[in-house]
Symmetry: C2
């Protein structure tokens, strides 16, 4: 109930009047008539400082004001997606925005300027015309969840200091396993810092299942182990093989059909060849939604082979796993319930803020067995509560960020049906794009079929290329088109979309849609923009 | 400039009046006279919904109101540290707080209740009397930084979508390397999801330096590799050895003196014994600030041995690395500049919100060489900017959370000197505690010397135990004291402090101080509370 006016002046003789009396009960009841901090006011005025409540409240409200303005503009199509600058420009300093750190404190006034500038020179990943990544959009409830998470500032390793979050994680993982279709309730899982780590977990758990002695004796205790994954799969399988001591040479890439899906016969042939060499086929990764094409490997046929040869089946659904929430699209993952483990990133197709990735394991106990080290200072057996809720020892991390709350809160707010609508809408939009350009002049689809996910892959041919004869010269010129258009998009700040080569295919655009703010008009805008920028190339 | 009143009623016939006209420009200019959402209002009213600006603003301000009330109470010593409930109680549902997820959306009103309840049943890790973990406290500027980070919702893998954050990370890592004392500017580093992963990176990089062929050929391409670390070191070294394919048997634990510091002669003897067996000593971890005792291994003497035998030297300064910021205490890490890699977690002793951990590497290029897979869809070589700023390929992650901004913003706000003051203050407090109890009746220090870090390890003997003869019975009874007192602390919610056994030592309290809100009165309170709760045991 303490009043606060001109706290700045009271503190060190500054005479600027900075605020009105407030009672400190609820921020919603109080008008603030100024947004200036005195230039002498710094962090030492904030809590836990004596009389720090009001400056703290004022400071946080200033920050929230900056953030809500940013949010408003993010959804405003008249705002640019980004204000591009080269690294050397930002490093040299932009209009008083200096990235260098110093020995002395800056004023809170300057800190607020730094916050504004950080956002100003960043990229609006929630903008309806940001299509650059698999993770796009800005979900307001998820954002609120993340603000709360950082305010709670705790750690997932024990129930002791994260009771609510630990239970939320447990319940949510169980729900996800049910959606995968695992009947028994004895599965397991954990939220990890991203899909690459989730995939790494799957390889670790597979190895532990078949060769548990590797945990103590190392890879020399096992025969030569081989992993199989599609040539279109995510590079994290290779990263895991390098990190975990398999070696990238022991990752066998599987051939795909023209739509980017694994050819099961190729898997079986390679498994047989591996066995004939005396090596052990350990693990197959089937991708549900590849990164570039959005292809879904035929899980059932792959599962048949895995069962026949006793191989661990992982489904990397980092991108496509969310389609399990859609009654219309979940058939694309048919057979997923036969997998031994599944990666599923709610931070991609479900619009949950970064980071939120789950590794789900069908057999309970493997994660724990694989990773536990029983640290006495954290996992005391003589606590007063049921210590099976201390889940930290099954992680490869010790401290673990709370990734669950924002997701849990969004699920509460949207319901399963809300996620389903989100996913169906994004897939409808990609069908709209596909139908719009598949026969349009100057466009060529990278493969000739309706996309399975929201990925639409295509070349744009500027008029100057269209009449050229097929051949290396045309290919070379086409290869440069997407990077040039992308660079111009970024310079103008109008939109962003990804491109890449794939195999022997020269650079093409990969359009993906995961943002619930995107509409058909944004798709139209993207096409107009490609044509505007690319017309004279 | 759109007005907004009774948007709820306009939308679906509800007649409750919900808000005043606002102009939508700045939240600080507008009084809100109600904090009720209509029970029919749900997430579909929020952005990107048509006319979603005002409901979004209203919702976020309600959330911020909940959060600022929580923050205020966190610093209020009359508030409990926690309101303990057993897992089954929370799972059964507390007064309308239901953790289960459903198919249908909840109202925003209920979402706000869920937010309040989540905080209510959690643990206030920022409370001045929360001493349970190495990471405590709630830094207001760091919190603001994290709110901004989640609003920006981007990903560290490319400069393209995180230009400002990528540069901030680069500059901050360089500054940290300078503080370590590496003279050349050619070092490297990355922020990782916690100290365990940072330590894992150090082992990976050491392996790559000496046996780069492991990346492609697996561990079978290398001889038997051995890692050395203190018996008091963090369990993450063992976790890494299990995960990376070394095997925990190939981690040799080093003997320590009574203060928990590695005995260098023991290291040398074990290195020689390892070589005599034909194995290869690859890596030594010297801990700067052990988890339980807070001990600092003698880095210079260990470095001499590492140089003599050509072994990688890592310094795990997850807990103690921050002392490098203090002119008074940095001598405890003397020799750290001779290390090949250093783990340093600003989220511990420097009060940065979770997660914020850096792995620093003296030699540039190793992280990249070790982990790069050159994914074409992310790291296109034909971008218009200098792609050496696309740092994602040196991570084991693909997507990577922005952990840098809150740290950078805190550094701006506090300056190097502000961190120094924070650290010195916490160490002063631990000295105060040590001096208070070292000769106090009923207390016994676990080792007999002033602590090197803020860890103070001690037994409390209830009066009933004091006159017992030394022996197994007394040990068994003493072993139960700390868990019992801790359980009562949690039930009463008054404070939290850790305990554990270590080696042949029965359960003792480990007091640690990293919270800038703690004062001598809080130390006094802790001791009073131990005596109050433990007196009649």
């Amino acid at each position: 109930m303490t009043g606060y006016d001109a706290w700045c002046g009271v503190a060190h003789g500054c005479t600027r009047k900075l605020g009105m009396k407030i009672c400190g009960r609820s921020i919603l009841m109080h008008p603030f008539y100024t947004r200036d901090f005195c230039h002498d006011t710094n962090y030492t005025y904030l809590l836990p400082a004596k009389n720090g409540e009001e400056p703290t409240l004022q400071f946080l409200l200033e920050v929230v004001d900056i953030l809500t303005n940013y949010i408003r503009k993010t959804f405003d199509r008249s705002t640019k997606v980004l204000d591009f600058h080269h690294p050397h420009q930002l490093l040299e300093g932009m209009e008083g925005f200096n990235l260098e750190l110093s020995d002395q404190p800056e004023s809170l006034e300057q800190i607020l300027v730094d916050c504004r500038d950080t956002l100003k020179y960043g990229v609006r990943t929630g903008h309806p015309r940001f299509f650059n990544q698999l993770s796009t959009g800005l979900d307001i409830v998820g954002l609120a969840g993340e603000w709360l998470t950082s305010t709670a500032n705790t750690n997932m390793f024990t129930y002791e200091i994260a009771p609510v979050f630990v239970l939320m994680e447990q319940l949510t993982l169980r729900k996800m396993r049910e959606i995968v279709g695992w009947r028994d309730t004895e599965g397991d899982g954990i939220f990890s810092p991203g899909g690459a780590i989730s995939n790494m977990y799957s390889v670790m758990v597979a190895r532990y299942k078949y060769f548990p002695e590797v945990k103590t004796k190392g890879m020399s205790a096992a025969p030569r182990l081989v992993l199989f994954t599609s040539e279109h799969s995510h590079y994290s399988i290779k990263k895991a093989s390098a990190a975990l001591g398999f070696g990238t040479d022991n990752v066998i890439l599987l051939n795909t059909d023209e739509k980017g899906r694994v050819i099961p016969a190729d898997l079986e042939a390679k498994v047989i060849a591996t066995k004939q060499k005396g090596y052990v086929p350990l693990y197959v990764n089937a991708t549900a939604g590849t990164t570039v094409y959005g292809a879904f490997d035929p899980i059932n046929e792959i599962a048949d082979i895995c069962e026949k040869y006793n191989i661990w089946l992982h489904v990397d659904g980092a991108w496509g796993g969310s389609l399990l929430m859609s009654r219309k699209h979940r058939h694309k993952l048919s057979g997923v319930e036969r997998a031994n483990s599944v990666t599923w990133n709610p931070h991609k197709m479900m619009g949950v803020p970064l980071q939120c990735s789950a590794i789900l394991v069908r057999e309970r106990g493997l994660l724990q067995g694989c990773n536990s080290m029983c640290a006495g200072y954290l996992f005391q057996p003589d606590k007063q509560y049921d210590v099976t809720y201390d889940t930290g020892d099954k992680a490869i991390q010790c401290g673990r960020h709370v990734d669950i709350f924002k997701f849990w809160l969004m699920w509460k707010a949207k319901g399963t049906t809300g996620f389903e609508q989100h996913i169906d809408k994004c897939l409808d939009l990609s069908a709209y794009l596909y139908n719009k350009i598949k026969n349009r002049e100057g466009y060529k689809m990278v493969y000739d079929a309706e996309p399975q996910h929201t990925n639409v892959c295509f070349w744009y041919f500027p008029p100057s290329l269209r009449s050229l004869p097929e051949g290396e010269d045309k290919r070379e010129r086409l290869h440069k088109v997407a990077p040039k258009i992308k660079a111009m998009m970024m310079e103008s700040g109008s939109t962003m979309v990804g491109y890449q080569p794939q195999g022997d295919k020269v650079n093409f655009f990969r359009m993906v849609i995961s943002n619930h703010a995107a509409t058909r008009s944004d798709i139209d805008f993207l096409i107009d923009e490609i044509e505007r920028l690319g017309h004279d190339l």
